[in-house]
């Protein structure tokens, strides 16, 4: 054998995330989305450097954007009703949303993918059972589910993640199930069956990788929804416990004064919607570029 292993490895094609990102360069919509997301990731990473003050420190209530702070600095985005610096709170708040939204989405995907693969590949009573359970959950107003669940089990980070998994997994299951139903009829799946592969091997190695295109697009959209959901839960007072800064909670706390001091509500609202917009644009871009493959 003249070819060595390293010769072959050099010819290994670029795959996975890198290939997806290389393709994404073709779509300016996707690139804008990615830029917005990377901006917020940077803000979250460098929150201690960016924020001029302690996000919990009480200073000048209702300070306008650009007005001077007691220590000679500037409230770049103003201060809220009890005098906390809004810029600092947004910077620290971005950490909360960028940790819990991806975490909850990821967990929802693990659950949804397993359910969807089982339903779509195994069929039979398992499919009927899982699909009906999913239908029942989806037929409830999701928000109502969240409210009941969180009030029942208490406000905590873990409960928010669990509630989101519970509400999102059935939707993911439906997508995965539909894709699996199609892919299970392919000849390479039959080839795996003929050589006696286990069901889990077939589901995870033969079917799941071929469902990744639509799932990556859906994941970006869903991340956007989850960010909104966490915001809404915060707004309804069911979010992460105060006083830790959290965008939904910031909007909620200041909304009564929004007519007089709009900056207090607008800043977190713009932050929230820009991040959601970023994920939606990224999803659009991925859809556009993945279709060309």
């Amino acid at each position: 054998m003249s070819t060595t292993h390293s010769d072959l490895v050099a010819k290994k094609p670029r795959r996975g995330l890198i290939a997806v990102l290389i393709n994404l360069r073709e779509s300016w919509v996707g690139m804008v989305g990615l830029a917005i997301i990377l901006f917020w990731v940077a803000v979250a990473l460098f929150a201690p450097i960016i924020s001029p003050y302690d996000p919990l420190a009480i200073q000048t209530p209702f300070a306008k954007p650009g007005s001077p702070a007691p220590d000679g600095g500037v409230f770049w985005l103003g201060a809220d009703h009890i005098g906390r610096d809004i810029l600092s709170r947004i910077a620290w708040g971005s950490r909360t949303v960028l940790i819990y939204a991806p975490l909850a989405t990821f967990c929802a995907y693990v659950v949804g993918i397993i359910m969807g693969l089982l339903a779509g590949y195994q069929r039979g009573w398992l499919d009927i059972l899982l699909s009906r359970v999913g239908d029942i959950i989806l037929s409830f107003p999701v928000l109502l589910l969240y409210i009941i669940a969180i009030q029942e089990f208490g406000r905590s980070n873990l409960n928010i993640v669990i509630a989101i998994v519970f509400g999102s997994a059935p939707g993911i299951m439906r997508i995965v199930r539909g894709l699996a139903l199609d892919i299970r009829e392919r000849e390479y799946v039959a080839a795996a069956q003929v050589r006696g592969e286990s069901n889990w091997y077939i589901m995870l190695t033969e079917i799941l990788p071929n469902a990744r295109g639509p799932l990556i697009v859906d994941a970006c959209l869903r991340l956007g929804y989850v960010i909104i959901t966490i915001g809404i839960l915060g707004f309804l007072g069911l979010g992460l416990p105060p006083p830790d800064p959290e965008w939904g909670g910031m909007i909620s706390e200041t909304r009564a004064m929004a007519m007089i001091f709009p900056h207090m509500t607008l800043a977190p609202a713009i932050a929230l919607s820009s991040l959601v917009l970023g994920f939606n644009l990224l999803a659009d871009g991925l859809r556009e570029t993945s279709l060309k493959d």
Partner: protein, 690 residues
């Protein structure tokens, strides 16, 4: 030649598609003139530009394609200069087109009547009554029984052959002067195809309609056309009358195509097929000079310098695009071939006794109990009492049209389904009732399959090396990473692919290359029996030959039994040692290759043989067109399964009593009520004249 000006004149046509990256020339310098009433075949492999020519004639190339230069004149009027409105009047009225997939051509939400009646109403301004009677008349002209019932049906309620007849009727209703047929029978079964081909010939005679028949199948072109134009890589490479071109092809590519087709007088051992080396160049990688140059066995330096002109051969009707056509002798184009030895036929590997497979399906009847939710189940008898056996090293072919149960048998054999009754033994052990999960590893490795569809056979997410290596690891052929990689590379070499393919993804491979990987995967576990389910039917002619030869070579080397499932009788005749013919879940005839292809025939085998197109002028065939459609397997005839369509039906006994198998010398079995002596009197379906 004709005094009248030609009906259609295509002059130096260039068509290109524009992609984001670059311009892709699809048709280059294409010229063709067609006289009124001519039938011209356009033949070539996928990607050669034949469909693009048809689309250019319709001036319908989508948003990214356009005619770059050249003229298409219909009765002297250049249609490339027409605007959309003028073109719309032309389409349908003057030029009509029939596509490959009849179900995709018909609107599933409209009845046949609505779709047919539109045509006279729009094109001739006919009244509703006029167009209804014209439509019904046309349906009976295309030999659809009971037109009134078909008119009221939706497309999905009628069979594929009938759908295509409806499409043809629709095209004819506007009485166009030019009919474009783009692979009109490719999606159909072979006996149905024979009926459509006969109809197309009839239309040409009856209406004197000019036709352009696009196909990859030279045999079909021979049956339907008077003239033929061979295309390669966007160019016409040869053109001439059927009789000249089929008897004295001039261009090396045409030669190559003929050498790739198994002809009735050849045999796998004494006359192997000669595949065309290499593959069709991508449009942006076409070589300078002759585009066929890199694959041509008669290539000389002079061919590669500059573009080759399309030359008219003096005193003939032939055109050719080759610099050296006058110097090349057919012998130059054929490499030295070594006659192969017959493989050693050993003991029985596979044996079945009265094997049946029934599926329980929900009944279609509606009555009180089904309304209450009690489901009625009906047995769909996919396989009934199959008796067959295969020996070590032998190629056993199972022939039949879609729905005959050949794939179901393969599924039971591989353990994807379990049998309902009867025995199926492999190396003496019963496996028919054992599903794939309960089989031992040795049995799994021993029984493998090569699939039909190259697009689907490999997992698009994994590299070639990973997919072949997985089989080696799974069956304990290799141990450890390095060993697996080395053995995978050995296998790649065996299917004649270089090491670079190890890390390729399926989408980077051509159809033939994927099929090679599929073969490597099937043979990785050193199987004793490989099912080849239509292994070449989705491939181009030149690739088919290469894959067929490869399959045989590997089979010889491993001494594997090959179970060839196919509807293509020319491939079966070429490859197989023994043949089983199935119809509606039953075996109607079985025997050695020669027994099957010579009388006595079962009437169904006879019809199948007559239906298969053969690309050889010397072969004269009888015409047998089967009437009617395949009965539903849910409600098969009580007697002989073939009784509803049999042209040799002898009487009520065929309807009421299932025929016994008649066994003649050498184990040739025919299940028919007609006595063997009488069946032996029947003339052969084809005769070879010199």
């Amino acid at each position: 030649m004709s005094q009248n000006p030609p009906l259609l004149e295509i002059e130096n046509l260039h068509v290109s598609y524009w992609t984001r990256a670059a311009e892709v020339p699809a048709v280059i310098d294409f010229s063709l003139s067609i006289n009124e009433g001519d039938t011209v075949g356009l033949v070539g492999e996928s990607g050669c530009g034949k469909s693009t020519v048809a689309m250019a004639i319709m001036n319908y190339m989508g948003t990214n394609g356009s005619i770059k230069s050249g003229a298409i004149r219909l009765r002297g009027r250049d249609i490339t200069q027409l605007n959309q409105n003028e073109m719309r009047i032309l389409r349908g009225n003057e030029i009509a087109m029939i596509y490959q997939e009849p179900m995709a051509s018909l609107n599933p939400a409209m009845t046949v009547a609505q779709q047919l009646m539109e045509v006279p109403i729009i094109h001739q301004g006919a009244s509703s009554d006029q167009s209804r009677s014209a439509s019904e008349q046309m349906l009976s002209d295309v030999h659809i029984p009971d037109p009134a019932r078909i008119m009221a049906s939706y497309p999905h309620q009628i069979s594929g052959g009938q759908q295509q007849r409806v499409v043809i009727a629709m095209a004819l209703l506007a009485n166009p002067s030019l009919l474009l047929l783009d692979e009109p029978t490719t999606a159909l079964d072979v006996t149905v195809e024979a009926g459509i081909v006969k109809l197309i010939r009839e239309i040409a005679d009856k209406y004197k309609m000019t036709q352009i028949y696009i196909s990859h199948n030279l045999g079909l072109i021979l049956q339907t056309c008077e003239r033929v134009c061979v295309m390669y890589s966007g160019q016409a490479v040869e053109e001439g009358s059927i009789s000249n071109l089929f008897s004295h092809p001039k261009h090396p590519y045409t030669h190559g195509l003929f050498n790739c087709i198994p002809l009735p007088q050849t045999d796998k051992n004494d006359a192997p097929l000669i595949p065309i080396p290499g593959q069709l160049p991508l449009p942006h990688e076409r070589p300078t000079g002759c585009t066929y140059g890199p694959r041509c066995r008669a290539f000389k330096e002079v061919c590669g310098n500059q573009g080759v002109p399309y030359e008219h051969i003096e005193e003939t009707d032939q055109h050719v695009r080759c610099r050296r056509w006058s110097e090349i002798k057919p012998g130059d184009l054929i490499p030295d071939k070594v006659p192969m030895e017959n493989a050693q036929i050993g003991d029985i590997v596979l044996d079945t006794k009265n094997l049946s497979k029934h599926y329980e399906v929900e009944g279609t009847s509606r009555n009180f109990s089904t309304m209450l939710g009690f489901k009625e189940t009906v047995a769909l008898k996919a396989n009934q009492e199959l008796n067959l056996s295969a020996r070590h090293g032998e190629t056993l072919a199972i022939v039949g049209e879609s729905g005959c149960g050949k794939s179901t048998f393969a599924k039971v054999l591989l353990g994807l389904e379990t049998s309902t009754s009867g025995e199926l033994t492999h190396d003496g052990a019963e496996i028919g009732t054992i599903g794939v999960r309960d089989r031992q590893q040795v049995q799994l490795a021993a029984l493998q399959i090569v699939f039909q569809n190259p697009v689907d056979t490999l997992n698009p997410s994994h590299t070639v090396g990973a997919q072949v290596g997985r089989v080696l690891k799974k069956f304990g052929i290799s141990h450890g990473k390095i060993d697996t990689r080395d053995k995978t590379l050995e296998l790649l070499a065996k299917v004649k692919l270089p090491d670079e393919f190890y890390y390729r993804l399926p989408r980077q491979l051509s159809g033939g290359q994927k099929q090679r990987i599929g073969i490597a995967r099937a043979f990785a576990g050193k199987p004793t029996l490989v099912v080849a389910d239509e292994p070449v039917s989705a491939l181009d002619v030149s690739v088919q030959a290469a894959i067929t030869e490869l399959l045989m070579e590997i089979q010889r080397e491993y001494g594997t039994t090959l179970l060839l499932i196919s509807h293509d009788l020319s491939v079966v005749r070429y490859l197989s040692d023994r043949v089983v013919v199935m119809y509606l879940g039953r075996i109607v005839e079985s025997g050695s290759r020669n027994q099957i292809f010579e009388p006595p025939y079962h009437p169904y085998t006879e019809a199948l043989l007559a239906a298969a197109p053969i690309a050889d002028l010397r072969v004269k065939k009888r015409d047998i067109i089967l009437e009617g459609t395949l009965p539903s397997p849910l409600d098969p005839p009580k007697g002989c399964p073939f009784t509803t369509r049999c042209p040799r039906r002898i009487g009520d006994i065929c309807d009421t009593t299932p025929p016994e198998e008649q066994i003649s010398v050498g184990g040739h079995r025919i299940a028919c009520h007609i006595p063997l002596e009488e069946l032996s009197q029947i003339d052969p379906v084809f005769a070879i004249t010199e």
